[in-house]
């Protein structure tokens, strides 16, 4: 990204990677166990073993991809606007001026809560704006929310 490197990009907490990894590991284990048993019952031990190995390989590949996705997330709160970049296959960079912000939403789903993380989302009047930062530690999320709200209020421009 050649976007102004004057300020350092911030990244989501390593907790996001831990969470994603845990999700991949759990789902791989569940799927491998299920299909392993199914093939074991239907076609014998060799088929069961092969299916488990294939699924574990798929899981490993997927976790590599998720790792890259996690690394692609970054954000930067500049003077006038917030930059959020993400994506491996499709790389996206959003520039959202604080003045256009309608509200800031902080959400934490059940899995996110297990890892003490939350997601900050910036809403503008445009549905496509797409400024979402996942995997922020609770303190950091609250700080960012307050900062954004403050900046938004001082620069409000509405529609």
């Amino acid at each position: 990204m050649t976007m102004s490197e004057d300020q350092a990009w911030l990244r989501p907490s390593p907790g996001l990677w831990r969470m994603r990894r845990a999700e991949v590991v759990t789902s791989t284990a569940v799927l491998a166990a299920f299909f392993g048993l199914v093939f074991l019952a239907a076609a014998g031990a060799t088929a069961g073993l092969v299916s488990v190995v294939v699924l574990l390989a798929l899981g490993a590949g997927f976790s590599w991809f998720v790792r890259r996705r996690y690394r692609a997330w970054r954000y930067q709160a500049r003077h006038e606007d917030l930059l959020v970049a993400r994506g491996v296959m499709v790389q996206r960079l959003s520039v959202v001026p604080y003045g256009r912000m309608q509200f800031v939403e902080v959400t934490a789903g059940p899995i996110e809560r297990l890892f003490h993380l939350s997601t900050v989302k910036l809403h503008t009047a445009a549905a496509a704006s797409d400024a979402r930062i996942p995997g922020l530690e609770l303190g950091e999320a609250a700080r960012l929310r307050d900062r954004l709200t403050e900046l938004g209020e001082s620069m409000a421009a509405g529609m």
Partner: protein, 491 residues
Amino acid sequence: MTTDNPSPETPDDGWQRLHPLSPLARVGRLVPALVLLFLVSTVHSKAENGRAETDYLVLITLASAVYGYVHWMVTRWRFEGDTLRIETGLIRKDSRRLPLARIQAVDIVRPLLARILGVSELRIRVAGSGSTDGKLAYLAESQAAELRLMLLAGHHDPVVAASANTGLPMAMVTTSRLLGSVLLSLVSIILMGTVATLAVLDQFEPRTAAAMAGFLAVYLLSFAGVVWRRLSGQYAFIAVEGPEGVRIRRGLLQTISETVPYARIQAVRQVEPLLWRPFGWCRLEVDIAGATARNQRGEGTAVVRKALLPVGSQQDSWHLLARLLGAPDPERTPPPRRAKLKAPLSFHFLAAGHDGTHAVCVTGRINRATTWVPLEKSQSIRRVQGPLQRPLGLATVHVDVAGKRARAEFRDREVAEADRLVEELSELSRVARLSSPRSPVASDGTHGVPPSGWYPDPSGRHEQRYWHDGRWTEHVGDGGRRSSEALIPTP
């Protein structure tokens, strides 16, 4: 307020009645349903060799006539200071007070039978609700027009007041052109093609043709419905310039009046479908931020797309565009040639450009669409690079405006240019936003006050009337001569 039809029952305390022909016009609303019912029952009775079924149609008509008459008897309205009060209902009394200051819009609706009878319906919308709040069905045409003017002109909000105006036309659509444009649309071509095929098939294989007609009947009818709605909805389309926005009047069976406020325009799109291109026709659409507070729940503020010109020449379209956005004509450049590998079809028209205040982009292959976005309305800037674009060194930059679909796309630009565009467009939007000459009121999505000056006279009695400090004055002008006459004549 004078009425053309003083009914003997009208007492002196200001209560007024609806037009005596209202019950008849009300029954008229049932006519399409009755005709349908009649057709169905005739087909039915033909099959069963009986004819008793038409009796209840007469009963329905009579019942609705009686209901209409009772409704007319018990409905009355009057002004009570700054409120319009409408009372109705025989068993359940319904009394509404509509404060003049909160009136958002007054529409005159004229269904077919009402138009024949010379009456029209007045619908009044009050701020803070999306639906019709007050309805006077029906009033004499002249009375409805006068009442509308009165409701709007006595209003505190200048923009709403100004919508009483009837000004000079900016664009209109002739019936022949509308007909041509509708016939040259995909839907009607499919419709006509299918009907023709069935007709030909009928010559050789009548049975198959009948079976297919039965099978396709639903689709054919719905297609015909689409074509008909386009035709009747945009019939006699006329756009008129007013101080607060473009006023549109259209409709065949029902006349619809609406206003496109300049301040709320998010994007303007000019679409040139393939079949229209030989004739140089195009369609102009605008995206307007919603007027009500409804749907403010984040996922895109309520934005409606409206046809500003259902069909017109490039010149008409350009004329309207000049008035809406001040003739923005930034230089458009095509993307690099290698973008053809990524977008083999749409590359043909693909172009984009921007100047200090507007971004413009051209997309589409079958329907060529040119979108203009005022940078002051931009909500966010996005740079997107897909897996096909990366090896080619291309990226797309979006300028998002309020709403779900509205945006300008700088599609498939060089990476270096895209990066530069992101910076440049963010900066230009920021400057445009700060320097946009609007009153503080305007910042929350409402409108500013139109500048003082001569505008077409809302009453239509004179050519022009002076608008000053947010209200109409008594100064009028006719062919250069000035005189004075109050907007609402004192009785």
